[in-house]
């Protein structure tokens, strides 16, 4: 059997940044998995978002399921510029707190379907959530840009690793 789940690239922020981009993603895998451990310069809602292929046209959608320690809720955005993909710990959390997101880009390189993105976000100090997003494009995803809620900076120490999974 062929081994897979291969690291493609890792980025660790040595200084605050407005965005993080993985570019020139090879089309040789079946799915991509992004694991992000992030903190952002936002005291309130501290979600993180992505723009596949750098496209910020307001044509994307996402649906989420969220628990905040008190209640569960579900919400949605449509015709959005970005797709929500998880959580970044905000500045209201203790220094050194980061949140984790695991993001699946399903069949990202095919050129016949729109792209579906499945995510799990875990911000232990605030919320846990699951998200499904739609990138309405039949183009292969060759780059992914990650931003913070409200386009605030992503803070130093945040890490991002992109893996490729190849089906037989």
């Amino acid at each position: 059997m062929a081994s897979t789940y291969t690291p493609i690239a890792t980025q660790t922020l040595a200084s605050d940044a407005a965005s993080v981009t993985f570019s020139s993603i090879p089309s040789t895998y079946t799915d991509l998995v992004l694991i992000a451990n992030t903190r952002i310069n936002q005291s309130g809602s501290s979600e993180i978002y992505c723009a596949p292929n750098g496209v910020t046209t307001a044509n994307k959608g996402f649906t989420y399921l969220l628990g905040n320690g008190t209640s569960a809720s579900s919400g949605r955005a449509s015709n959005d510029s970005y797709i929500r993909i998880g959580n970044g710990a905000g500045t209201s959390t203790a220094s050194g707190t980061f949140a984790t997101s695991v993001v699946n880009f399903m069949n990202y390189a095919n050129t016949t379907t729109y792209k579906t993105i499945l995510s799990r976000g875990s911000d232990a100090t605030n919320a846990v959530e699951a998200i499904v997003g739609l990138f309405p494009s039949t183009s292969a995803i060759s780059s992914i840009t990650i931003v913070g809620n409200g386009l605030v900076n992503i803070l130093t120490g945040s890490t991002f690793t992109l893996y490729g999974i190849k089906a037989a």
Binding site: S3, G61, T63, L65, G75, T113, A130, L134, A167, A168
Partner: protein
């Protein structure tokens, strides 16, 4: 010399604590639905050499409806030997429910023929300790479809009340065929 460079690379990897190769996750088989569609997708003769299985899919139904449901049968068992729980959101409310004595494990849902073109559901299902012959088998699933204004996100757990090793998995579209380009991929995770 090439062998000296190779040796140096291996030593560097070992020194850094990074494994020289990632061999714990392997592709076992993949099914892609062709133009004629298919009512079910089966993985058979699954080797027992892994610790866990993972199935990843991008799926759409061909039934004349807005959506269709994916169901899973293990080892061809069509008896009422399954149960499952679901927690899901539809963009405005959250629902939790559970079902006992079922003839399948639910695998989430997917857009179907009257949904917007090119829209597919994504799913990632884990089948844990699948080859163990002293446990009932448990599955967990993250599945969802967003259609830019509608959609669902699902957390599901499933139980197959049987201690046999899992050797086959059959994913059926309950109300029709899977549409062209639907793809299910089976992976093995070593222990």
């Amino acid at each position: 010399m090439w062998w000296a460079q190779l040796l140096n690379n291996v030593v560097a990897l070992l020194d850094s604590g990074v494994p020289a190769s990632t061999t714990a996750y392997e592709s076992i088989a993949t099914v892609t639905v062709g133009a004629g569609g298919s009512s079910s997708i089966a993985f058979t003769s699954i080797p027992s050499t892994y610790k866990h299985l993972q199935v990843r899919w991008l799926a759409r139904g061909a039934a004349s409806a807005g959506s269709d449901v994916i169901s899973l049968a293990v080892n061809g068992d069509s008896g009422a030997n399954y149960s499952f729980h679901r927690l899901y959101g539809d963009g405005s409310s959250v629902t939790a429910n559970g079902y006992a004595s079922q003839t399948y494990i639910i695998g989430g849902d997917m857009p179907a023929a009257t949904a917007g073109a090119n829209m597919f559901a994504g799913g990632v299902m884990d089948i844990l300790d699948y080859a163990n012959t002293s446990k009932y088998k448990t599955t967990r699933l993250l599945d969802g479809r967003d259609q830019n204004g509608s959609g669902f996100i699902w957390f599901n757990s499933g139980l197959w009340q049987n201690t046999n090793a899992v050797t086959s998995l059959t994913f059926t579209a309950q109300n029709g065929n899977y549409a062209q380009y639907t793809q299910f991929a089976l992976y093995g995770v070593k222990g």
